[in-house]
């Protein structure tokens, strides 16, 4: 009982906290893009609140150019902990460091990517520092006076958006969907401090990394320019072929809604949405996808969205730039043929231009 009481008081006193932190992730010495996306989010919050933005980097060895890029893409300072035990992500040593930094500096907000690392580290740390944590946010805002972070995320299986606050506890912790925002451009004139921090005395881990097996190189939906996705409207596993053929015509990657993956028509790496991948391709084509919020959360930042669905009321049309309302079994084969033809014409045009240039 006594312990409980002191913890509640602790939550209140932490309200003195100040400053926005974002977690930088590195692999093999190189800073990962999600770190810069978080800085773009953090920059907006820090500006509105009138406080400093700090990137936290825990690694075995920091690459000086990477540190510079953290500053140039928005942070005022980098808190750097270097230790051999931080070479790979293992939750215990990383959590021990972050807990120590939070206790030393009392940030009001700590953001991490909703990556395999962030989603493991943040809940482990939030428990230790008695903080509120919101998973997988797609929107963040801050009240300038109270400093309350307004964390928006899809809820109830993605059927609705919820805004979540952490009114009394500090820091306010959140993980943020990767690729849900773009990094700020590099400003080479920006200056900031690199603050080296001693790690805690003990950095033990009861988990050892024995080996790493990288994925074979394959076209993934995460980095494709064009993604064509299959939804339940395809009705059978065999019909997914229609989407695969359209994707081939576009030279695109094949995506899928959760329904399609749950039914085993396509594998999990194809899944777009809250419980799959968030992507922002130049063109997204949704075929037979109704558009549950859980799916929309994963693709609505695409530059151009095309939807093909027979239901004029389908939610997907609310986020689409172009919608074809009609039977996909009629429309998709026609579209595949039309795209193939358009690409052939393009290729011929290019050849002609090439020939002209040769003559000139």
């Amino acid at each position: 009982m006594d312990v409980d009481k002191s913890k509640i008081e602790n939550r209140k006193t932490q309200i003195e906290a100040s400053g926005i932190w974002t977690l930088a992730e590195a692999a093999g010495g190189k800073i990962l893009p999600v770190s810069f996306e978080l800085l773009a989010r953090g920059r907006a919050l820090a500006q509105k609140r009138g406080v400093r933005l700090t990137a936290v980097l825990m690694t075995d060895r920091a690459d000086p150019e990477g540190l510079e890029e953290l500053i140039q893409r928005g942070s005022d300072a980098v808190l750097l902990v270097e230790h051999p035990a931080l070479e790979h992500f293992l939750v215990e040593p990383h959590a021990a460091c972050l807990v120590e930094l939070i206790r030393r500096h009392h940030p009001e907000v700590v953001l991490a990517g909703a990556t395999s690392t962030g989603r493991t580290l943040m809940p482990y740390v939030a428990v230790r520092v008695d903080a509120g944590l919101t998973a997988d946010c797609t929107g963040l805002d801050i009240e300038p006076e109270t400093g309350n972070l307004l964390q928006t995320r899809p809820a109830i299986g993605g059927n609705v958006m919820a805004t979540i606050e952490t009114p009394t506890a500090r820091p306010q912790m959140a993980t943020v969907r990767p690729r849900s925002t773009r990094p700020l451009p590099r400003e080479t004139v920006r200056r900031g401090e690199i603050l080296r921090q001693a790690p805690p005395a003990k950095l033990a881990s009861r988990v050892r990394r024995l080996e790493f097996v990288p994925l074979p190189d394959a076209r993934t939906i995460a980095d494709a320019d064009v993604v064509v996705s299959a939804g339940r409207g395809l009705k059978t596993r065999q019909n997914v072929r229609l989407v695969a053929e359209l994707a081939e015509a576009f030279d695109a990657a094949v995506g899928a809604s959760r329904d399609v993956v749950d039914r085993g028509w396509l594998d999990y790496p194809h899944q777009v949405g809250l419980s799959g991948k968030t992507i922002a391709p130049r063109l997204y084509v949704a075929v037979g996808i109704s558009g549950a919020i859980q799916h929309l959360a994963g693709m609505q930042t695409a530059q151009t969205i095309v939807a093909i669905n027979s239901d004029p009321e389908a939610q997907i049309f609310r986020v689409a730039d172009v919608g074809i309302v009609g039977d996909l079994f009629t429309v998709v084969p026609m579209l595949t043929a039309a795209i193939r033809k358009a690409k052939e014409l393009n290729a011929e045009d290019a050849e002609e231009r090439g020939e002209k240039q040769d003559k000139e």
Binding site: S116, I156, N159, E211, V306
Partner: protein, 272 residues
């Protein structure tokens, strides 16, 4: 050797619909099920129990399912028993209502502590309703245990250490974790079995232990909404950001026109 599997009863989210007029969830007729991703945790626990059993004969090996929820969450526990879990513990107390992931992890960790010795806690990757994936790591942190998330395969198990594969963005890691410890597992780990008829009969008759905040020695202000640092302040449908150009393809002819127009738009946008 004991393995503990915390599970959650969730609404069948595929069936959840929103009332457009009021913006609230239509709960009527929505079935309550065991979180589908918890089935993989149950299955893995049963397999590890059975392989340990056959390895050392008659030793005392059990899988214990644990669930925090309203009294009706006992049906989720009975489903776990029907699949083959040995015992079920229901953590149910009106004071637990409104728990966020911090408070939920605290209750589950307190119950696990009270249960005594164990080798392993296995959690599903996340629940399909809340979609946070924070409770498994939270339990590990409260219990000060080692943790491996996103486990896609167990290579070896026990007695003092286990070797697992962990799925990450660029591939998979092979990790050795000392026991006791906590895992969260993904779908790739195994295929959940269906309950047997005998299992169902046994589950129906099984007695479930039920604990509230007092049995767990937790102060009322540390559980439920009172013990939760986060608050949901608003629920809303997202606003529409784009003007959709609608092309109607009612028959072959209009479909051909729609396709032609779409190709023109894509060409103008330099997407072909």
């Amino acid at each position: 050797m004991r393995i503990i599997v915390p599970i959650k009863q969730v609404p069948e989210t595929g069936a959840v619909r929103m009332d457009e007029a009021t913006g609230t969830m239509v709960r009527e007729g929505v079935e309550a099920i065991v979180n589908p991703l918890d089935l993989y945790a149950i299955e893995l626990a049963l397999r590890l129990r059975d392989s340990s059993r056959s390895a050392d004969g008659e030793g005392n090996h059990e899988v214990l399912a644990l669930s925090m929820g309203p009294p009706k969450a006992q049906t989720a526990l009975r489903e776990a028993l029907a699949m083959g879990c040995d015992r079920g513990v229901l953590l149910s107390d009106p004071a637990f209502a409104g728990s966020d992931t911090w408070a939920t992890s605290n209750v589950l960790a307190s119950a696990i502590r009270k249960l005594g010795e164990f080798a392993l806690v296995i959690c599903g990757e996340r629940a399909t309703d809340g979609d946070t994936g924070q409770v498994g790591p939270g339990i590990a942190s409260f219990l000060d245990l080692p943790l491996v998330t996103y486990v896609s395969r167990v290579r070896s198990f026990g007695p003092d250490e286990m070797v697992v594969e962990r799925l990450v963005e660029e591939g998979h890691e092979v990790l050795a974790m000392s026991l006791p410890g906590v895992l969260t597992v993904v779908k790739e780990a195994c295929d959940p079995r269906l309950p047997t008829l005998r299992g169902k009969q046994r589950a129906r008759q099984a007695e479930l232990v039920r604990w509230g905040h007092q049995e767990l020695g937790l102060a009322r202000e540390k559980v439920g909404l009172a013990g939760s640092p986060t608050r949901v302040v608003r629920l809303h449908r997202p606003s529409v950001a784009r003007q959709c150009r609608r092309l109607i393809a009612a028959d072959e002819e209009s479909a051909a026109l729609a396709v032609r127009e779409l190709v023109d738009i894509l060409r103008q946008k330099n997407l072909l």
